[in-house]
């Protein structure tokens, strides 16, 4: 097992804020809107640098999505910012008709996703957003794993034409992807080559997958760890090749089992290469208040849960 150095400890939303500022400097077509959460999404960096290209949307998320669609259709590259819950479920029909169906070049940027939002509790801990967004035809869905990857993803999506859902989170989290790692939409990132089990992880759980890989290595198990930062379009080749090599699979994400990344991988493997598969995800439940670490343990998303899932997957191999 390769060793991963913790370069820093930073929240992914700050990576978004830094990326937005950077792409704002590179492309004058980039504009940003935020629904009264400018500081929470670290969009103040962009706002301070480009006050004329930043628009306060107020607590009116539906209108924000529509205005962003209009600006995109008129030639701008709008980034919308609010919590993941209000970026998806609250405005699903606006996204479906005004953005996805109209193929408006809007970047829907969503913070505080998943259980690791923590103490605010289930009202804000959306665990259904990946599923909602990946079902929309033509929508790209990205869930980066650390500060550096979120920053790189933010810059990359501005250079891609079409609607994108970019999901990130609230807590400080280990930074382990180097600053110069290129971000390619739809291209999975191989973190550790292994032979006994493939672990596909997204978002905050990528770090948990690395910790699980270390636990497994101590038990003499060689885990292949692949970072699926782009859930849609899924890197079909990377998934098939790894599953073929190791013969069993674990998926790990901070999302409902129904409709998440694991669901996409299971569907792919069922059609192309039936393989024993275990899922680490929330099992048809809402979250609750608590610290991020407490919640990941309680809801079965900790590194030891990934380790156990890997052992189960291996035991199911022929």
């Amino acid at each position: 097992m390769k060793s991963f150095e913790i370069l820093d400890n930073k929240d992914t939303r700050s990576g978004f804020g830094a990326g937005l500022l950077e792409i704002g400097k590179q492309d004058p077509r980039v504009v940003a809107m935020c629904a009264d959460l400018t500081g929470s999404l670290v969009m103040n960096l962009f706002k301070d640098e480009f006050p004329d290209r930043f628009f306060q949307a107020g607590i009116m998320e539906a209108n924000m999505m529509g205005v962003a669609a209009g600006m995109a259709l008129a030639g701008k590259i709008p980034f919308t910012g609010t919590f993941a819950n209000f970026s998806t479920g609250r405005v699903y029909d606006q996204i479906r008709q005004s953005i996805a169906y109209s193929h408006a070049n809007v970047k829907i940027c969503a913070s505080h996703a998943g259980l690791t939002l923590g103490e605010d509790g289930a009202t804000h801990q959306i665990l259904e957003d990946i599923g909602l967004m990946k079902m929309l035809p033509g929508m790209v869905v990205i869930n980066p794993c650390d500060y550096n990857q979120t920053k790189a993803a933010t810059i990359a999506i501005a250079k891609y034409f079409g609607p994108v859902y970019l999901r990130f989170g609230r807590p400080k989290w280990p930074v382990f992807i180097s600053e110069d790692t290129p971000f390619e939409i739809g291209k999975a990132l191989m973190l550790n080559e292994g032979t006994d089990v493939s672990i596909f992880a997204t978002g905050h759980l990528v770090w948990k997958a690395i910790q699980a890989g270390q636990q497994l290595a101590e038990k003499g198990i060689s885990a292949e760890i692949i970072n699926i930062h782009t859930i849609k379009p899924l890197d079909v080749e990377a998934v098939i090749n790894s599953a073929k090599k190791t013969g069993c699979v674990v998926t790990a994400e901070e999302h409902q089992m129904n409709g998440g990344m694991g669901d996409s991988i299971a569907q792919l493997l069922a059609r192309k290469l039936p393989t024993p598969l275990e899922m680490v995800a929330v099992n048809d439940s809402f979250g609750e208040s608590g610290t991020p670490d407490q919640l990941l343990v309680k809801y079965g998303l900790d590194h030891s849960d990934i380790t156990a899932a890997a052992e189960r997957a291996i035991s199911r191999k022929n």
Binding site: N63, G70, L73, A74, S102
Partner: protein, 282 residues
Amino acid sequence: MADINLLPEIARQVRRDILRMVHAVSSGHPGGSLGCADYLTALYFHYMKHDPSNFTGHGNGEDVFVMSNGHISPVFYSVLARSGYFPKDELATFRKLNTRLQGHPTTHEGLPGVRVATGSLGQGLSVALGFAMQKKLDNDSSTVWALTGDGELQEGQIWEAVMFAAHNKLDNILVAVDFNQQQIDGSTEEVMGITELVSKFRAFGWLTIEMDGNNWDEIHRILPQAQNHLGCGKPVVIIMKTEMGQGVDFMMGTHAWHGKAPNDDQLAKALAQLPETQFGDY
């Protein structure tokens, strides 16, 4: 720009198109379409600054129209075709498999003249504001025109948009509310009262003008006034009184024809009241 004296005749032809289109597929929304035929004819043939032969989705440098009440697509398609966005014979494909003229307007099939999908009510006004924001940002002095239904004002998103437009001083947008006071389940007052529209919009910081949208003298008197208000720091709304089913006696004064197509006999009776014009049927 068509001669102003020709507009009533164009609108009559548009009304024939609407009736023939919905009749051919036994579906669609003739009532509101007939009511807005005069207004959209006025816009597309006289008041809007646009270039049908060089359609660009972004609409930079020209007037943009967004129809938030997407269900009245028949009138929209007719004025688009007849003002030159696509051949009028394509109107015969309305709502048929593989058509660009979907039941509700969409950019998805690439129909020139359509800039955003509408149909799920309450969304188009926000999109129109987005176009208006782009024009402000790029010092583009052209106008954004938007049309909403009156029943559509029951959608909460409309009032978000109304608040946003005034807050951002979007004085380059001219919104018309099709005030026909009818919706699917009955009159707007029965279904969900939307009374005091002028006061509502004024309270939100808009300039309001009232207009009879089925009276040519009034259209030509009020629309230039409305245009004069552009650039004065406030968004402008025209509360446009229309008659659902205007032009066909048995379709007027009722909500019955909101989403119902005429049968063969009804079509013949209706067309008899709207003789074919020099522009010809599709």
